[in-house]
Amino acid sequence: MIQPPTLPTNYTVKPGQIKTSTGKTIRTEEMIINMGPQHPSTHGVLRLEIVVDGEIIVDCIPHIGYLHRCFEKHCEQMTNYQQVIPYADRMDYCSAMTNEWAFALAAERLLKIEVPERVEYIRVIMAELQRIASHLIAVGTYGIDSGAFTPFLYTFIDREKILDLFEMTCGARLLYNYIWIGGLSHDLPPKFIEQTKEFVAYFRPRVKMLNDLLSYNEIFVKRTANVGVLPREVAINYAVSGPQLRGSGVNWDLRRDDPFVIDHKLDWQPQVGKGEVGTVGDCWDRHIVRMREMEQSLNMIEQALAGLPEGNVKAAIPKRIRPEKDAEIYVRTEASRGELGYYIISDGTASPFRVKARGPAFVNLSVLPEIVRGGLIADLVLTAGSIDIVLGEVDR
């Protein structure tokens, strides 16, 4: 039934660790518990098969694929590139904007399209708003994981305001189909700038409130500090990305380090976990990185709004999308959860030959078994929560 855990050989195991990697059978005092697919704290249909000794986790084997929606197959079956965008939306449904952006970007690079500057600015605004919305879900559900229900509802109130902005822009609340290859589906609506500024002003104190209510609450700190520590070398080796990587103390943000858009022109700072309350790379660091990133995103939004040029948002949308034969591209962007890459191979027809989506959550989740060993079940819940997975993207 249970598979041996997979410790890559180049990781040393601390002395005193129970050796389950050798035998297939568990010891008599251990037991296997299924957490999920229906479990309140697996954030969707993740199934964690955990081996526990008492309450201490000996091993954890994630089982994914309960939401495998055949994204890559669909990409190949579409009649044109544009039709992929709705599916890209549905991949990471908490952060649809960044997903469609990444795909649009990849297609644009494949087609060598240059988009107007206004489009880039709007895309940044949208992506950062989306990042806030996505982090709000992460923070809110993390509150539930830690037993506090109220922050979840507060974050959703704030998120609803962002969704209103999105809805007035493109008509949808969750899955936007807004960023098209070479442009946008709509220009900004008239009152958008005003309302966004309002939102930014409204949201800053809310971040502080959330911090007071949750992040700096002593119980919360005690629960998350020193839990699920992911050292930076391991994080890099596992290609972990996004807030999780930065939470491990690696100052790496694709928006700055592999600039794919105008983000690097704006004034902002990637936020890094410093181990203020525990070890660098623990759950609290990941959480607080998200909280602080939201503030940074607000800065970016403000600047992008200020610098928004005029122009046509549909100028570069190609009539027919037909890249050259055998062209291929891998484009990586910094989505809400980390490095979102699209690898597209074209065969010269109007539909992609192969699309591989490299979802950040998929990769981030793969490190989970490494960091939960030795913790309690409660720690597992918090560690899994701090990774902020979206199953749509893990399973695609």
Partner: protein, 347 residues
Amino acid sequence: MEFIQTLLANQLVVSILLSALPLVFIILMVLVVLYTEMKVAAHIQDRVAYMRTGWHGVLQPIADMLKLLQKEDIIPTKADKLLFRAAPFIAFTGTYVAYAVLPFSSIYIGSNINLGAFFLVAAGSLVVIGILMAGWASNNKWSLFGGVRSAAQMISYEIPTALAVIIAVMITGSLNLQEVTKFQDGGIGNWLVFGGPLPWMQKLMLMPFTVITFFILFVASIAEVNRTPFDLPEAESELVQGFNTEYSGMRFAMFYLSEYANLFTVSAVVVSLFLGGWSSPFGAFMSGPVWGVFWFTSKAFLFILIQIWIRWTLPRLRVDQLMYVSWKVLTPWLFVCIFAVGLILVI
């Protein structure tokens, strides 16, 4: 008529009727508390909750109960059927027995045992057994974890509770809750939390310790009823629903009822030991048997409200932190208080 009179003359019948009163109270109280909790929680969270059953949804708890009455009652094949059936009985009975010694008013107390406070401490253990039984009998890993954890938590916090009760007993010199309350009668200044009706010097010296004791008792009582931040046994994010994961329908309703009834019990203990029970805070003003019921329940409700407030604010402790709080924070502080109070009272 005559029949009723003869019936009322029979002491047994009367005491049975009197003993059934708290049951009515429990049911009403649970309905009210359920409603209040959801409403308060909702408003804390900028929501409204229950709006569609009657005026502002006041009938919602009734609907819930009626619905639970209609739910199928599932006994899993693998469960230990006998124990599975017995568990709700034990849990609820244990809860209800505790009501026997709560002094609702100066004239009503279910059973005026001389050892009331002691009895309360002991009765709590029945609930522990019921929960343990439920967790075991379900033959479900989550239930077992929940049940055992619940039991471990309740017994861990029973010690602080008992020690705090002892401090109250030391000051009042009686285990009879009715007498403990009478001892504190006569206004807010006489409440034990402020040192009781003792000479000024003693009172001032006692005050810090009684306040600490009171506070600890309050914390322990939250933990005893498994509420946030101590709600690990039912921690939804880890253990699904804890020990009642496999229970459905009316059997579950009994646990639900007993949980909320316990909520009142622990608040009532705090109130009658430290906040003057049924006695009015204004001395003779607004006091009397009927007012007594009012004061007693409203004080207890105040506590329930505070518990609700705490519940919807805080995250949950982890199990080791839970034990830490009980054994390494509350208990030692209470030892200190016992020594201090003991010394102050004899010199």
